[in-house]
């Protein structure tokens, strides 16, 4: 066990300072304003700026556009980015999943320019997983890809393709054999989003984040954009999915967040600090400081307990716990602020940076994206408690409604 401050040597301290100064230069007020207005989870100037130094994916070797960062250097970078605004870095996290699949499965002459553009911040990638009639059950994909010689024709629609409107490629789950069991009829493609027949339509969520529905109408894709074997998409997906579910990550160096919900907890922490600062400088109706009000003291205490619960619960369990913590506590903290807690930042009389008002809206998505908390509870039931797998009518369904004879 070790929770000590890391004593940085001169070289690392210099790096930390250099990163901090560079990020302060990059994250100008217009960057935040743009994110606030559009909720892209992305900023071209920031991404290209980081990419120019190999700092967008600094853990990659320099030959792949990274900076050969050690885990410690990586941790320094992540904490400095958190100091700015983690929201803008969302598409970096999203892109890193398909990047590993591209590296592994695509012929190198195809993969290299794509990966290079990503590393330089000139391209990001989004996940074409969920569909309008089924979110978390990815293997149920119905978007159809049909082969004709070297070309594939893709038809259907994908939902919750966050970042599609700023992405160059989407990592697409398609159905290529409707007669096979559902996990065995899937093929993955990397689809350039400027291909004719692709239409992207924005969907605003109440967290402020924009996501998309993407329509594919007779989209023609060369077989070279296929990732992994035909009908072998499920095993291709597993690498990135496992990473998204934080399975098999080594944490013994203490340089990674224990909980995959740690990011949600940062939003909760922002709200806790905001409410505490508000209480310290606000006088209640009885003329006493709100910081002396037992309601305020007890609820802030409870919120900090929940914050610790979120960050100290490991892996997939941490994701469920952190989401629960944020959903419940953000609502309670907002109640403490009264009507002024409803005002978004920049409105007259809004509190702090509007972090609490934002936290309550943001919280609701955390129980859904990346797989709902119910999907994660199913994983925990089977893998942590060893409970038997439930058998549902749809779990081994043949999508064409008939079994191959």
């Amino acid at each position: 066990m070790d929770f000590a401050l890391i004593d940085l040597d001169e070289e690392h301290r210099a790096l930390q300072l250099e990163i901090r100064e560079y990020l302060t230069e990059l994250f100008t007020p217009d960057v935040f304003a743009q994110e606030h207005e559009f909720g892209d989870g992305f900023n071209k100037k920031v991404y290209e700026g980081l990419g120019a130094r190999g700092w967008l994916y600094p853990e990659l070797p320099a030959t792949q556009g990274g900076a050969d960062f050690t885990p410690l250097q990586q941790r320094i970078m992540d904490l400095e980015l958190d100091r700015q605004d983690a929201r803008i870095m969302m598409m970096r996290g999203t892109s890193s999943l398909p990047m590993s699949a591209v590296r592994k499965y695509m012929p190198s002459d195809m993969a290299e320019p794509i990966l290079k553009a990503c590393a330089q911040g000139q391209a990001v990638m989004c996940l074409g997983y969920s569909e309008p009639d089924g979110g978390s059950d990815i293997a149920n994909a119905k978007v159809r890809a049909v082969q004709d010689g070297d070309m594939w024709t893709i038809n259907g629609s994908k939902m919750w393709t966050t970042g599609a409107h700023v992405s160059t490629y989407t990592f697409l789950v398609t159905r290529t054999d409707p007669d096979a069991p559902k996990h065995k009829g899937i093929t993955m493609f990397l689809v350039p989003l400027d291909t004719p027949g692709v239409t992207i339509q924005g969907i605003r969520t109440f967290s402020g984040e924009r996501t998309n529905i993407v329509y594919y109408e007779d989209v023609q894709i060369h077989d070279r954009y296929r990732i992994g074997g035909v009908n072998d998409g499920w095993s291709v997906l597993h690498g990135p999915l496992d990473a998204e579910h934080s399975i098999g990550v080594d944490m013994s160096d203490g340089l990674t967040d224990l909980s995959i919900g740690a990011g949600f907890c940062k939003v909760l922490a922002g709200s806790i600090v905001e409410v505490a600062e508000w209480a310290n400088k606000t006088t209640g109706p009885d003329g006493r400081s709100m910081a002396e009000d037992t309601r305020v003291r007890e609820r802030l205490g409870a919120a900090l307990v929940e914050y610790e619960a979120g960050i100290n619960t490991p892996g997939p369990m941490g994701r469920v716990r952190a989401s629960d913590a944020l959903v419940k506590q953000s609502a309670i903290l907002q109640d403490l602020l009264g009507p002024a807690g409803l005002l978004p930042m920049d409105e007259e009389g809004s509190i702090g940076n509007g972090d609490t008002e934002y936290a309550h809206r943001f919280a609701q998505g955390t129980g859904t994206y990346g797989g709902t908390v119910e999907v994660f509870r199913t994983i925990i039931a089977q893998h942590v408690l060893g409970l038997p797998k439930a058998s549902y009518p749809g779990s081994k369904v043949f999508l064409a409604g008939k079994k191959k004879s």
Partner: protein
Amino acid sequence: MDLHELRRQDYTLEEISQEVLVAFGDFFRDQCPTSVVRASEPLGFDQNLWDRLVEMGTTTMGLPESAGGDGAGVIELALVAEEFGRAVAPVPYIEHVVTSRALAAAATPALDQVLAGAADGSHIVALASYPIQPGSKQLVPAGAVAKSVLGLAGDDLILYTVEQSPALVRNQGHTPLAWWDFDSAGSRIVVATGANAHAIFKRAHDERMVLMASALVGMTESALALTVEFTKTRETMGVLISTLQGVAFPLTDIATNIAGARNIARKAAWFLDNEPDQRPELPAIAMVYSAQTATHGTTNAAHFQGGLGFTLEADVSLYFLRSKGWSALAGDPSAHLVDIGDHVLASAK
């Protein structure tokens, strides 16, 4: 709260700690089956088990080397507490260990005899939960088996000693609770005064909260294990009840809470051992979260065994009754929350 502090987040146990965990896990499994727990009721004390625990070095491991101990940290003591709680062992482990350590910290020659008795387990010591007011009595955890109780009276830390421990008052958790009338205690030794007295008393309470938090983790895990097994064999309408999400999902929440509560307790122990001034609110956080985890966990563990889980015959009842019976000894969670909130407010200034 500096969220961007560059600290390690390493929860892996050192080899030596791992060995402590295994050794005490084996010990309690062998020496304290649930039949021993039941046989100890209503007092909640088993002399034979206590003697064996003393032989294991449990009463000396946490004492400083200067007091003839092994100088173990709160983290090792917390690991023992986890296994102690898993067995819901009828011995005053937590009270005795934290009070002995407080006496050793005071380093007063007048305490040498008591400390020697505490080290060899023959003289059980306990901690008063609240400051002592003249003319009022207090319910003292382990007070029915303790010969001495350490308490804060004004600015003095005093060790009250009696010839004969006061009588047991029967209670929900089957622990050796007793009313102590400090005015009539036979002997009193002023152990420390002023700021030092307050500091020693606070430290002892912090350690008690962390050890109790760990014990509640082990206790809840035992209850969950019983219920998981139950749901894997019990059928309804032709399916195992563990395949129903209405059963499985609440059980995953218990497991999730346990995993977090264990880490918070261990982290709190680490900070007490290494940087006690850095996270002064962590012991209370550990205590509150473990108390919530235990209450919720044992309640649901009993519930998912249906009517059977409601019977005294079911072993899950042992854990359910002790979840509150033990956690309530470390104070009202709401009071702790107010303290934690004060810390949040102070650090936001």
